[in-house]
Each structure stands twice: as structure tokens, then as C-alpha cells.
Amino acid sequence: MKLFAMKKVRKMIAGVAVAGLLLSVSGCGSTASAPASGSGSAQSGTIGTAKIGVVSFLTGGGAAYGKAIKQGLEMAKEEVNTQGKVKIDLLFEDSRGEKNEAINAANKLVNKDNVVAIIGPTLSGEMFAVGPIMNQAGVPIMGTSTTAEGITDIGEYVFRNALPESLAIPAAVKKAKEKYNLKKVALMYSNNNDFTVSGYKTFEKAVKDNGLEIVTTETFADKDVDFSAQLTKIASLKPDAVMVSSLYQEGALILKKAREIGIKVPFVGGNGFNSPQLIKIAGPAAEGAIVASPWFPNKEDAAVKKFVSDYKAKYNEIPDQFAAQAYDALKIMATALEKAGSTTDRKKLRDSLAAIKDFQGVTGKFAFDAKRNPVMSATVLIVKDGQFSELK
């Protein structure tokens, strides 16, 4: 039996810890720009400055979402502050996509900075942890990207303006069926991500509701890069279309591989497909990918055109769905604050948020239903010539 000295154990522990550290730090590319400075002096005719807290995924693996959300919110803030009756001061806190961090961030904003409402967090899982605490404390909280089922069941202070997948996916499936006369389809989804699993369940239901036959259901995991096994099987079954619930990284790689092995049928994606990055990574393989989205940057609409050009001028990129929904969320907040006539009363703000109707945002006409979910319509998009365009 070999001797096992204490020193060796200690060195080993340190080694494992350092390795872990490096792993976790490497995922933390910080991307967000300088924090917003709140210019909030109350002018005559205004009702003062409202402090709104934002909990977002600003560093780590999902920082791209957090960055888009932050930029969308800052655009909206500037516009509200120059035009509106109410001034808004935004306070950003990072959640790193972890629920404990999100709880701490929200608690800090509410109990230390005394914000009137919270926008965020980014992930549905975070909302399930933060929502009940905010609901108990009586702070209105609005998710801009929390699409999972059951979010607003948490309580009457929990809102969202993210189009739930239960609205978007059926629209895409229905349109694709009409357009391509689908009979049998294959399903694919990432099984280790709450968002994509929820999307898959919606796909399954929508496919059944439309009377389509499911030839196979294939699963993979986030960060997978090889999909040949699943796609070869799908190719042999010859479906009329493939429905994919994944994030854009995997979605793009699936499209690439599928076209490579000769699957020519249309691909219908969940919300993850709804990103310019999908086209960027997949290139020509993205042609024919279908997704339903509340946000369509090339829409013939004055507000949308202005938003896109302003955003492009400021950040030198086309706003994605996360930016657009965050932009609308803050505008909705501002409208509700104006109606509530107070920048500090959380109960009044909740009531006037719940009463929001006929709000015209860049993601279309918007209202909250009785359960504080959004009532809005989705546009079905298809990738054509390297761009999203409306599928008519």
C-alpha cells in the first residue's frame, strides 16, 4: 500500500480547486458596457424619478442575452427621459444566470436601493426563485425573456412581456403545415435546458393539435457539437419537416449538419432560432429555417424602423428579440408609472400595470391578460437569402 502524505492531499485539493476556478472564470467574458448613470432631476410637469432595478444575466455563458436586454432598456430609458412625464433611473445587477445570485441581486435592489419595480431576471429558472420573494414583498416584477409555463402563476405581482412559447410555437407549426403541406415530422430538442424542454413540450402539443404524425423524437444536450447520429436517423425516416427546440448555437450546428447529409426539408425552430446569430453561424444552411417571433426587425412599421436605426446607430448592431422586448418592457413600465401617478407606490404601479391595454410597442400591439401574461401576436419568419423575412 502506498503512503499517502498529507502534503500530497493538500496539493491535490489545491490543484482541483484551481482547475475548477479556471473553468468557471473562463466562462465569464464580460461584455456589458459602462453602467448607466442616472440623470434624474425632477422637472416641472413630471411626477419625479422612478428607480427601476434590473436583474440580468450580464456575465457568464448567457451574457449575450443580458447585453441585448441592457441595451434595449437603456435605449428606452433615454427616450422616456427626454419625452415622457416620468423620469427613470435604471440600476443594473448581475445574476450570472444563477438563482441564488438572482435572489441576492433582487433583494439588494429592493431593500437597499429601494427600487419601485424590477425588470428581469433573464432565465425562467431564476424567476421561479426570485418571483415568490418579490411577490411576498409586494414588488412588481416583469420578466422580458422568461417564456416557461407557469411563471405568472407565482403571484399577482409577477408580470412578463415575453411572448410565451405556448403562443409562438403553435403559430409557427400551423403556418408551416399550411405552407408546406406537412404530414409527418421529426422532433429534436436539448434535454438539459429548462427553456428548450419547455419548448419541446409545446412543440409536441402543437404538432398533435395540427394532426401531424411524429416519426421520431431525438434528444441532445446543450453544448453538443455532433448531431450526426440523430440526423442520420431522421434522414432515414424521411419526415416532411424537422422541429427543433434548442438554443441558437446548437440550432445552427444542427442545420449545418442536416444540410450536409442531405436533409432538405424545412426546419421549424423554437425561440432559440430567433437570433441573427443562427444565420451567422449556419450560413447558407440556415435557408428555410422557420420561427415565430413577436419581433421582426424588417417590419413595415414606423416605430420599428426608428428603433432599429437608433439602436444600430448607438450599438452598431441590429436589435434582437431580447433587446426589443426589454425596450418595450421599460416603455410599458413608464406608461404604467405615469398612470399610477407615483414613482414610489408599488401597489399602485402593480394595479396600473395589470390594466395596461392597447399599448403599441415595437413588438406590436400589447396588453396583459387576466393572468398578467402578454396578449400579442407572433409573426412567422423564414430565413431567406441570409435574412429573416415574413413567411406569407
Binding site: N104, N111, T196
Partner: protein
Amino acid sequence: MDFILNPYYLQIGMFIMINAILGVSIYLTLATGQLSLGNAGFMSIGAYTSALLTLKAGFPVYLAIPIGGFAAAAVSAVIGFPALRLKGLYLAIATLGFGEVVRVVFLNLKITNGALGLSGIPSLGILLGKALSSAGFDQGMGGLSVQQLSNVSVLLILLILVVFLVFFSLRLSRCRVGRAFAAIKTDETAAEAMGINTTYYKLLAFLLGAFIAGVAGALAAHITFYIGPKDFDYHRTVEILLFAVLGGSNLVWGPILGATLLTMLPEVLRAASDYRMMIYGAILVTMMAFRPQGLISEETLRFWKAKLGRRKEHDLNS
């Protein structure tokens, strides 16, 4: 007073306590020189067991939490026998693998709701709040609201648990079992030659560690309303290990200090916004470079005892 009663600080306090409990759990396995990285796995077993019992079977929370601990301990007994035949890095790899297996199992089970996780778990704070209201304190007590009162009580319960665990570990290190742990840690072969049943003591440490991790997981589930497989991945394991590495693993105070510092650090650094995690990482790397044995070791304790003792003498003389 307002400062302490701020729900933000109370919440951080709760996370510190839970992490301190996890720190004790890794301390106990390290006390026999076994590097086990399965704590996140045991934590998730405790968390899921307790959450499912309360959500689906209607168990009361105070019963479900210890059952979560026992479930983790039961699994650890099954894993422990074969795994503890391995030594050093091999044990670390095996237990790390075990943690991942547990996570993947939870990810694919129907009853755990897969990657969507379990939401709406009954919360300790809200349950206590209800109990307080029905006990006639619905207007609060001593100028505190019910919410504050329930948060303070949860924190107190956790604190009592941590104090008990520290007391338990300190007593353990002075009794027969603790001495056997120390002997195995220093030299397993020599310990065996001295007639110590090493398998028994290693398994005992492993079981205790798993039980405490399971209880910590169950408590975490009932404090955060929601658990998903993502909460118990490899990063969680490394975080728990870091409590012991940063604080020092020779004394129970080490992991507790480590847990406290590492839970507070990200919050203290919030002011640095984007650079937060970079600074966090830099601090840890610096720590590893300058104090690889951890912040608290036997020497530190001796040093301070001597220093404080001298001061007392000095005070007496002057």
C-alpha cells in the same frame, strides 16, 4: 438594527449558513484525508427528496428535511463501499462522476420535472410567517413585520444548526472517532497497523458528510422556492471544495470562514459591476499562492492564542 433586519442581509445570512453547513460536510470527509467531490450530488438528493415529499406527498417541512438527509446518507452508503476502496485523486474522480450521474438522473426523471426543475416548493420563511400569524403575532412583534420576523426566525434556526454542527465537530475531534479520523488522515497504513478499522471510519466520515450535505440541500430547497439540476452541477462541487481550500481544512472553523467569505464576496463586490467575478477570481488565486494551507490552520490558532494570552499577561502586569 434596521441594517441587520434588512431582508437583503438576512437572505445573504441564510445563504452563508447553508454554505457553512456544506463546509462542515466537506470538512468531515476531508478529516479522514478523503477527497470526495460528491457533495453537490448528495446535496441534490437531499433537496429533491425533501422537495418532492412536501410537494407530492404532503409531508410537513420539518419532517421532509431530515428525511432528505437520510436519503443522501443511504445513497452514500451504497456508493461508499466500492468508492472508498479508491484513494486520492481516483476517489475524487469517482465521486465527481457520481455527482454528475445524480444530476443526469434528475435531469431525465419525470417526477423531478427534468431540466424545468421543481418550482413552488413550500418555503420555510412563509410557513413560519403563517405559524406566527396564527399564533397571534399577525401585527408583528416589537416593531417588526411578520415577514421580517419569519426571516429572522429562519436565520436563527440555521444559525443554531451551524452552531450545533461546529460543536459536534469539535467534540468529534476530541473523541475516539475523531482521533481515528486524524490517524487515517496522517497515515492510513500506520493507522491500520495500529488496529484502526479504516474502512469503517472512512465510511462513517463519508456517511456523515453525505447526511449533512443532504440536509443542507433540503434546507436550500425550502429557502429558494425552486431547484433545478443546474443548481447542483460541477461548479457547485468546486464551490463547496473552495470553502475548505480557502478557509483551511484542518479545523472546522476553516470551511465555515471560507463559506462566509465566499458567500459574502460576490455581494460585497457588486459595486465593481462588470469586474466583479474577475476580482473574485484574482482574490482566490492570490489566496492559493500565498496561503495554500488555507486561512485557518492549527498554527494560526496557536499564534493567536499565544498572542492574546501574552496581552492578558501584559495587561495584568501593567
